[in-house]
Symmetry: C2
């Protein structure tokens, strides 16, 4: 028998999430039925959206059920197959969850996708060439509408999504300005990712001070803003937005614990005639092929750089996830399982 270590949601957070909200269990991998595939997960993706699923509130997605394996994107290798489209050794991406092995019903279209690792590392399919990359692509291309000479700003700029936003903006002739926490991240964003500037929000304790720093970094104002954080950072960006600017709401990580994080001056939406739009990339599957083609080509040719924080072993997932919510990761947060 094969033992499968799994992490379940044990309880819903009251305020901040803690390790006690999770529980590690060991189960036996069941025998496959016709049409099923057994995947050995190599990497688990940790993403901020998972925090929202831990709540029991009305949102765009169903809450993560209690006492079930935490949802999550995974890449791995087929180790047993009862479906003709998949053979042992195939590398696949899917929603395998926080566990070492996943049984997938391969008769459902889209559940598993085979990927080519000859030019792109397997883990990148959870980051720059995966959901975070397409998220960056959609918000930037479809909402911010970047173009030569425009200024695009993005928060959480060293992260899995933010890092792609800025590099795609640069490729479209924009000035790319990041917002990140700490000198190391800001240096990386500018020196390695090629952003034009990066503002360290940790140097600023109030909105005015941060907004002034953004003014220096964005001498021509901001035309497109990609929001991953919310709260004070959003408040500081809004006065810098140019007339007819666009704001893509991708995440508001600062509000995942359920507290309100007000937008202080919504009047600016009117005064600057902004368009503010929220989106969820899984609702725009039509753009995935186009986005993945651009992202894959850029990664394979070294034009799209990314960084990974890799925790080791399924047992490390809860701590790594809580660290992600506090910005302790540097680049895409993964858990390596093999």
């Amino acid at each position: 028998m094969t033992v499968n270590k799994q992490i379940l949601l044990a309880s819903r957070p009251k305020g901040e999430a803690t390790v006690d909200n999770f529980r590690l269990v060991e189960t036996e991998v069941p025998a496959l039925k016709d049409g099923q595939v057994l995947v050995r997960n190599h990497f688990l993706s940790l993403d901020p959206y998972m925090r929202g699923r831990m709540n029991d509130s009305k949102s765009y997605a169903q809450p993560q059920p209690l006492d079930q394996v935490m949802i999550g994107g995974t890449v791995g290798e087929v180790v047993e197959s009862r479906h003709s489209d998949f053979k042992v050794g195939d590398k696949v991406v899917g929603m395998g969850g926080w566990q070492e092995y996943a049984v997938a019903d391969a008769t459902q279209p889209g559940i598993l996708r085979k990927v080519d690792t000859s030019h792109i590392p397997l883990s990148a399919y959870l980051g720059a060439v995966g959901m975070p990359g397409v998220t960056a692509w959609y918000g930037l291309v479809k909402i911010c509408e970047p173009g030569p000479g425009k200024t695009v700003a993005v928060s959480a700029a060293s992260g899995a999504v933010g890092s792609v936003v800025g590099q795609l903006a640069k490729a479209r002739g924009c000035r790319a300005v990041g917002i990140a926490g700490g000198a190391d991240k800001c240096r990386y964003v500018v020196e390695e990712l090629g952003f034009d500037a990066c503002v360290d929000y940790k140097l600023h304790t109030d909105m005015k001070s941060l907004s002034t720093a953004l003014k220096d970094a964005c001498p021509n104002g901001i035309d497109g803003y990609f929001e991953n954080v919310g709260g004070m950072i959003l408040d500081a960006v809004m006065p810098r937005m140019n007339a007819f600017g666009r704001i893509a709401f991708c995440g508001m990580i600062s509000g995942y614990n359920g507290e309100p994080i007000p937008m202080t001056y919504p009047q600016l939406i009117l005064q600057s005639r902004l368009r503010v739009e929220g989106f969820i990339v899984s609702e725009h599957m039509d753009v995935w092929p186009e986005a993945l083609k651009e992202l894959g080509t850029m990664v394979a040719t070294g034009k799209l750089k990314f960084r990974e924080s890799v925790a080791k072993g399924i047992e490390s997932a809860p701590e790594a996830f809580l660290g992600l919510l506090k910005g302790k990761n540097f680049g895409k947060q993964l858990v390596q399982l093999i």
Copy 2:
């Protein structure tokens, strides 16, 4: 000589505007130069945007200069003309300002527009068939994208803009729901304007209570919301917005005194994938002909109803304007000058 009574901006408000911010003066109407036209203003339009102009803050428009005639839309009659396009007796609409007579440089295109009063009352060109009407048309048609079966809500529903929003929405097969202050206004909105429902915000002292009332009035949620007010009303509407809903920011009258009026749950923009867009109708002159054609036809055929609050005499303008800011008007606020 002809004496012209004018109202100037005497000082900028600190917080709430008062009558002391205005000054009445009497000047002599100057002799016309070539290309100029003298208009006797019959009606002056009072509009919430004027409050914003009284501030000295960065906004989309230049502040109203001190010691000059308050800006404002007017309709009137040509009483003297040195331009071949205009003859004495022509009815015209323009930005004549808070005064009895206005000298217009008719060589500048668009400064004066001749209007036909055979089927449409002159004053309507300041309301339903004027800037407020086109404002309603643009925000509804271009931002809210109404359609059969959708629910459209609008605040300040008995006002010059809101009343048109709801009637245009009804004409497009929508459920139209108003928000207004007081039983009289709500009754008018439903019984005379034909909205499906109207919520009296004065019956609700907190956001939750108002939001519950909106839930009853909008059993299928809200697809398009036209915002004239901001603050608690916006907070109460946002949880009622359906996925992919649209919010047109037209005005935030509750914040014109300069105080912040935070949006409490901007997370809802993300969770409900809303699009929130601010606009100023004067920046969309391309839609005016199409909008005015529909609005004019509807008024001339009795399909678009409106109501006016008419103050008498230029001296009454400051008081009437301050009342407008507090919602004391009922329908379009005008000052009749003749």
